[in-house]
Symmetry: C2
Subunit: 402 residues, 2 copies
Amino acid sequence: MSQTGVCYPKGFLANGIHCGIRKNKSKKDLCLIYSENICAAASVYTQNKVKGAPIAITKENLSNHLAQAIVVNSGNANTCNSNGEQIAREMAKLSANALGIQANDMIVASTGVIGQKLDITPIANHIQELADGLSVEGGIAACEAIMTTDTTIKEWHGSFVIDGKECRIGGIAKGSGMIHPNMATMLSFITSDVDISTEMLNLVIKEVADETFNMVSVDGDTSTNDMLTVMCNGQAENPQIREKGNNYAIFKEALFRVAKHLARAMAKDGEGATKLLTCQVVNAPTKQAAKHIAKSVIASSLVKSAMFGNDANWGRILCAIGYSDADYDETTIDVTFTSVAGSVDVCKQSQGVDFDEEQATQILKQEEVIIYIDMNQGKETAESWGCDLTYDYVKINGDYRT
Amino acid sequence: MSQTGVCYPKGFLANGIHCGIRKNKSKKDLCLIYSENICAAASVYTQNKVKGAPIAITKENLSNHLAQAIVVNSGNANTCNSNGEQIAREMAKLSANALGIQANDMIVASTGVIGQKLDITPIANHIQELADGLSVEGGIAACEAIMTTDTTIKEWHGSFVIDGKECRIGGIAKGSGMIHPNMATMLSFITSDVDISTEMLNLVIKEVADETFNMVSVDGDTSTNDMLTVMCNGQAENPQIREKGNNYAIFKEALFRVAKHLARAMAKDGEGATKLLTCQVVNAPTKQAAKHIAKSVIASSLVKSAMFGNDANWGRILCAIGYSDADYDETTIDVTFTSVAGSVDVCKQSQGVDFDEEQATQILKQEEVIIYIDMNQGKETAESWGCDLTYDYVKINGDYRT
C-alpha cells in the first residue's frame, strides 16, 4: 500500500476498522483521520433543517477554524434520536483522549440509518486500537470505513506548486443514496499540506463545493448529515495564502480537481446506477440559469429512467429545463447526446430533428453519457453529475434497514 | 351504459374513438366533449416554461372565458415540434366545423410523446365520425381516449343544490407519469350544469386546483402539457353565482370533491404504483408550511421506495420534511403510519420511539397508506397524494417511446 487519498499530503495519518456498530463484521464502521499538527479547517454542511447531531458538535468545535483530527462512523447517522449530541460529544472526547489532543480539535461525522440511538460502547472499546493503528498507508481503510451502500471507494489526490513549494492534496468521499446536496454533500474529507489562512480556506471551500458536490444528484433527497471538511496543516511550508491572488487560484484549482473527481465518483456509484450522467449547459444567459438547468435535468426521474433504457427521449430533457427555476429563452435550445461511441444531435432550436435511433442507442449504452445543452443565448456554463434510475435503486431502497 | 363523468351534468355529450394517431388500434386516441350551449369556462395550465402548443391555442380561445367543446388527442403531446400551434389550431377548426360551432369556442389538448410532429390526417379523416357519435353515454369512451400509460379510467360525478335547484358536476382525468403538477395537472376536464359567472369560475378553479391536483406527485416531473378545464353550461337554471357567498361555497365544495377524487385516482394509478400514499400534515404553523411539507414527503424517492418495500423507515420522512421549503420548528414532529390494518406511532417529538416492526409492515402492506404528520405547533393542515416507487416505474419509463 502507498500514501493515497487523505494520507497523500505530508503529515496526515488515517485508519479504519470494524468496531461493531454494523452487524456485518466484514464491513468497517469507524474511521480516523489525523494531522501531526493543528490545521486550518473549514466545513460546509447540509441545508436540511433536520440536521444530524454530529453537525452541531463539529460546528461548535470549528468555531475557532482549527482542527487536528476527524472521527467518523458508518451504520448509524446519529440523527433524530434523544441523545445524539451527547453521543457525538462523547465520540469527540474518546477520540481526543486516544490521540492525546483537545476534544474541541475533533471533527465528528456519522452516516447510516436515521432515527436510531447510537451505542457508544463499540466505539469506546475500540477507539485506542483505531488510534494506535494510524499510518500514512491508512487512506484506503479510512475510506472503506465511511461507506454505506457505496460499491466502490472514492478517493483522489494530486499536487500543485505554490511559489516553488510542492503542495499536496487528497480526499475521500462516500455516497450513494439520499444524494442531492445543497451547500455540501454526503461525507467528504479533504486534506492538504498547503499553508492557508482560515479566512481564505473558508472562502475557497464554499466556492468549490458550489460547483462540485452541490451539482450532484442521485435521487433528489438532501440528506440530514451532509458534510464536506477541508483540513490544511501547512507542512508544505509555502508562503501562507492570505488573499485572493494567484496562489489562492492555484489552490482553488487543486481543490476543485479533487472535489470534482469525488463528486463524479459519487454520481457514478449512485444507488443502483449503471452509468454516469454528465449534464453540460453552455451559452446560458446567467450562471444561475445554467446551474439550475443542469441540476434540474440531472435530477429528473424521467430523464434518468430513459437513460437506463438507452432511450434518446430528449423531450423529457426539454421538460426538465422547462420546470427549472431559471430565466431564459425556451425557444433556442439545442440538445446533443455524447459518449465514447459518438455524438448525436436530437433537438435544434427547441424542436426535434431527425436522427438515427440505432446510433443514439449505441451512444447511450456507454458507461458515461454527456447530455450537452446549448442554450444559444449567452456565455455562462454549468456542469452537473448524476446517474440513471434503475430497478436496483428501488430494490436497495425498498429494503434498506433490514 | 349510463350518464357518467363529464356527461353527468345536463346538456353535455361526449365520445372517444381510435382515429390512428396511436399504432395500437385497440387504444382510443381522440376525445370530444360538447355542451349543447355555450359555457362559462376556465383553465389552469402547467407552469413549465416549455409549454405544449395546444395550451397556447386554448389560452387564446379562452380569452373571452367562454367555450362550447373540448377536443383532445392522446399518443402525441404536440409539443417541441416545428408546427405545433398550426396543428392545434387546425384541430380546433376541424372540430368546430364538425360540430357547427365557432373555432374559438374550442378547447384543445394533447398528451403523449414530446417532440414529434402530430399528423393532422387521422384527425381530419375521423373528426366527423367522432362528432356524429357524441352521446350522453359517451363519458367512458371520452375518458378512455385521453389515457396514456394509465391503467384505469379516472372519472367521478356528483350533485349539489343551489337555492333549491339540483346542479350536477362530473369530471375525467388522466395521469400517470410526469406527474408533479404546479397550478394544474396532467389533463382533467370537469363539466357542470351550474350557472356561474366567468369571474367566479376563474376564482374557484384556482382555489380548488391548488388543494387537489397541485398536491399530487408521482415522479417529481412537472409536465409541459398539464391542463385542468372546467366548463359550466348553466342548464341547472340556478340563480347565477356572482359572488363569494354561500352558493359559491357550495359549488366550490362540489368541485373540490370531484377534483380530489380525480387527483387521488391519478396518484393511485401513478406509473408502476402498487399503492396510494396520502400524506396528512396537521397542526402546522402556516398553510404554506403544511403544503410544502406534505408535497416534499410525497415526492421523496426514498420515502416512495421504502413504502414499496413496506419498510417503516420514518427517518426518511423527517429528512424530506427537513429539506422542504418551509418555516417551522423541527423538534416537535410526530409521525404515524395508518391503513385499514391499523395505526402505528413511529416518531414522537422528532425522535424515534419503539414500535412493533411486524405490525408496521402489516400496516404498510395495504393498498392505501396514510403518512400522518403532527407538527404540534399550529392549526394549519394540508394533504398530498402520491404512490410508491417500484421496479415497474423504471421499466415503464426506461422504454416509453418504443
